[in-house]
């Protein structure tokens, strides 16, 4: 009887051996597909008025009471801070705000035409907006990527603060986030 049990055990052992190789090596040409988007986006609706889509690695954080939303935005070598604010009217003006941000990272203020020449354009359901990428080569640990969107009676300010490398890495996610902002239809 013991022999039979041993035989059964051996059969079981042989059949349960997993001989498949679990390490694979392959080479692929350098390409960046956009097919990972299914996993990386979730729809958020944190404010009472707006909704947006953000990468799920962005983590809601505690910001000042003036902010509609705040996120900790991780990148490969650190963490950025993203804020969404709605200010009444023009919120102090586009030029004044951009120059204030420039000052925060040690850059000199610029004239309106110079600022506008550096602006990138975008549009979402709320309307057109400008994006400003501000970086100081002599101080690479702090850079700003911001979008300003003028609405009827208010202005929406979306500002991402990170290192120079972080801003470059997060630029696409930031632009996608801006383009996804809309009025929350669930109200």
């Amino acid at each position: 009887m013991i022999k039979q049990i041993i035989l059964l055990f051996l059969v079981f052992f042989m059949l349960s051996c997993d001989s498949r190789n679990h390490i694979r090596i392959y080479y692929l040409p350098k390409t960046h597909t956009n097919n990972d988007r299914q996993q990386t986006k979730i729809i958020e609706s944190q404010s009472s008025e707006f909704s947006w889509e953000k990468p799920d690695s962005w983590i809601p954080s505690q910001g000042s009471s003036m902010r509609i939303a705040s996120f900790d935005v991780p990148f490969s070598t650190g963490m950025g801070d993203l804020s969404v604010m709605e200010l009444s009217g023009d919120g102090g003006g586009l030029v004044a705000n951009v120059n204030r941000w420039r000052g925060q990272i040690g850059l000199e203020p610029l004239e309106e035409n110079e600022i506008m020449s550096q602006a990138q354009r975008g549009e979402n359901e709320l309307g057109p907006y400008q994006i400003f990428q501000l970086a100081n080569d002599s101080s690479s640990d702090r850079a700003i990527l911001a979008a300003i969107l003028s609405m009827n009676n208010s202005t929406l300010y979306i500002k991402l603060t990170a290192s120079n490398d972080g801003i470059k890495e997060l630029e696409i996610d930031f632009k996608n986030f801006c383009s996804s902002i809309k009025y929350d239809t669930k109200i």
């Binding site: 350098k30 990386t40 070598t77």
Partner: protein, 373 residues
């Protein structure tokens, strides 16, 4: 030897194991309600040992089926079965053996996953539904990236991963089936790197629907001869790539669903969706694609109940994604080497039963007539 065959081919083994298989089927069906389909399948049917109540070890579905297979096969080694009178029984046994071999082939070699393709874009890989992988990508070369991929069975706690293509060792600290990212409230003396400097992965109870689980991994890089030694973390769906420069080589660490590359690619030309009038519910949707092989495109329409079958793969229209930047189709890709086994074995068993009936019918009739007299 005769004694061994006699013992392992005993019909009682078959009867008891089949009864046990029925018990497992009932338990697995009930368990689906609490732990979900995938977890139940893994626990009761794809395991060698099933722990009842996490205390009592019992034979799992895989083990039970192996015993049945051995029992059926050993039946064929019996000398007294190889008679013309028992030809039907032999054929039925062969059919049943083939059925179990087919289920083994399916369990070991088959794969299923999905393929997400943006309109106008092309894809040549399938992401598995359940299995995960850790890919270490050497991006130092100009045109080609070198992938060293470790499959999920290797991503167990305390396991050390190494390969000749890597100058360092990866030790798995934790592997979570489901977890979330949480900001650290206190600074730590531990040498955390990348995302883990500011965040931690917190283990969560697995969701019933496996697709809702976000797997995570915490690993340690050792012997890198640089200041990159430390503890790193990755979570499924992390959009920010974890990078490290080790011995002047640039690496990316990706934790994702197991990716299988195909010898052909599929380009999505147009995705069409038809809604039920006055509702947002999809009535039908279809994908017009280009199947590109060796640079030659072939136009195909994939729609509900009309999948594309190519090179052993079957692509079903499964779902779609609508986003501000456009539509994307989701194709379910299934490769099942054992697909034909149930059909063939069922036919063989049916033939066997018929042969058995034909051979034994005269004898039965004779008995009947003698009985009547």
């Amino acid at each position: 030897m005769k004694q061994i065959i006699k013992t392992i081919s005993h019909p009682k083994i078959f009867v008891y194991t089949v009864i046990w298989l029925m018990v497992l089927t009932v338990l697995g069906t009930i368990a689906q309600r609490d732990i979900g389909l995938y977890a139940s399948q893994q626990k009761y049917f794809s395991s060698y040992i099933t722990w009842l109540g996490d205390i009592i070890p019992t034979p799992g579905g895989k083990f039970t089926m192996i015993i049945i297979l051995v029992n059926l096969m050993s039946m064929l080694f019996k000398h007294n079965i190889w008679k013309l009178r028992k030809a039907g029984i032999i054929i039925v046994h062969l059919g049943a053996v083939l059925l179990f071999i087919g289920s083994g082939v399916t369990a070991i070699f088959s794969s299923e996953g999905n393929m997400v393709i943006d309109e106008g874009a092309e894809s040549n890989y399938v992401d598995d539904y359940h299995k995960m992988e850790l890919a270490v990508v050497n991006t130092s070369k100009k045109n080609l990236d070198k992938y060293t991929v470790f499959d999920e069975p290797l991503l167990k706690k305390s396991n050390k991963l190494s390969h000749e293509s890597l100058d360092f060792v990866i030790e798995i600290i934790e592997y979570y089936n489901n977890c979330k990212v949480q900001r650290r409230t206190k600074s730590s003396d531990i040498q955390y790197k990348g995302m883990m400097k500011n965040f931690d992965l917190i283990k969560l109870k697995p969701e019933k629907e496996n697709a809702q689980n976000r797997s995570g991994i915490i690993y340690k890089i050792e012997n890198s001869d640089s200041n990159n030694d430390g503890i790193y973390g990755l979570i499924l769906g992390q959009s920010v790539i974890q990078t490290a420069t080790i011995n002047k080589q640039n690496f990316e660490f990706l934790f994702r669903k197991k990716r299988t590359y195909l010898p052909f690619s599929i380009e999505l030309l147009d995705f069409k969706k038809v809604l039920h009038p006055g509702t947002g519910i999809a009535k039908s949707y279809s994908s017009e694609i280009n199947l590109i092989e060796n640079g030659i495109p072939r136009r195909v329409l994939i729609q509900m109940n009309e999948p594309l079958r190519h090179r052993g793969y079957t692509f079903f229209q499964s779902s779609f994604i609508e986003a501000p930047e456009g539509e994307a189709t989701v194709l379910a890709a299934v490769k099942n080497y054992g697909r034909l086994f149930p059909y063939i074995s069922s036919i063989i068993m049916a033939v066997g039963l018929l042969v058995h009936l034909v051979i034994n019918l005269p004898r039965l009739l004779r008995k009947q007539m003698v009985g009547n007299k």
